[in-house]
Amino acid sequence: MADKRITIRAARFDPEKDKAPHLQSYDIPFSDDSMVVLDALNYIKAHVDGSLSYRWSCRMGICGSCGMTVNGTPKLTCSAFLRDYWPRPVTVAPLTNFPVVRDLVVDMEDFMQKLKSVKPWIIRKREMPLGAGEHRQTMDQIDDFRQFSQCINCMLCYAACPVYGLDNKFLGPAAIALARRYNLDSRDQGTKIRLPVLAQADGVWECSFVGECSVVCPKGVDPAKAIQQTKLDTTLRFTLPYGNRE
């Protein structure tokens, strides 16, 4: 078991020297069947090449920092087991559709702006003082949005979305899923404020339902479902009498 080895081909890009990323191979020990791709990258950084750059934090699929392209598929590297690839080499590249800053690190600014634009927080027409009590919800009301609240902003859905890849003006899956999450929340009164962003040309109507965002989502959020439901919702609000009544 101790002699088992695996080849990791990591994308390298130095903005000071390189015009484009290139792959660099590392042959490392694969000592434990529970090793994940992130463990392999950490081994390379600690023992082989300290200059390899990548993002990571929690190592347990919660923070959403370690999203990369593993053998062509966007994945959280902390939950991509090497045993699923061995003895073939594992190619690790940055998330597709995003500008690469260095090695496996991408520029997240575009996503952050889009996320902010849908106001993913509870909006009230009039804030009540804390002493006025809680905004209670039934289990059924929580179930309405629970699935969409699981999003960890890992951006795998953006990397898998060809619509975003072809035109990055598209608002994108995660931002729409989070907007849907708050629109479905019984405590929220901000649907009308979010609608202009969601219903604009680069909003939900840009999506042609490829569905790959939901396939790669590590938390089962199903952003494609959120987008299609928002399309239906915006249509009904536009066509039905009193559709926009809150």
Binding site: F13, P15, E16, D18, K19, A20, P21, G72, T96, N97, F98, P99, V100, V101, R102, D107, E109, D140, D143, D144, P162, G165, L166, S208, F209, V210, G211, E212, V215, D222, A224, K225, Q228, Q229, K231, L232
Partner: protein, 136 residues
Amino acid sequence: MSAEADSTAHVATRVYKPAMGAGWWTRKRHYFLYMVREFTALPMAAWLLWFLIEIQRSGSVRTFRPGTSTAFVIFSFICLLFALYHSITFLSLAGVIIHAKVLDRPVPPRAIVLTMFGLWFVASIVIGAVLIGFGR
């Protein structure tokens, strides 16, 4: 990956912007099936045009008989397969898209899909009956 370095990005250092190649849809089976689904619109549009030409050739709608051109019958059969593929994949997704409640309880996605297929069946019978009725 095709190269395009952008020095005008908001970050201080130069970044690499990957561009999607024209063959992106061949990379994954899911992407390919999506393209097939979208492509089904083209043969159906071609069928409609051919249908109108066949009617014009026969002189009028009253004298048109669909079985006179073997090529048109074969093409119609192929288009039927495309139409069925499009309809079945579309209606199967109804359970995902429609978020309905009856008596404050969410309707199960399977019930929505079955309702959609039922409505499709009824609509097909009604349209078929209307067309046959007008044809007589």
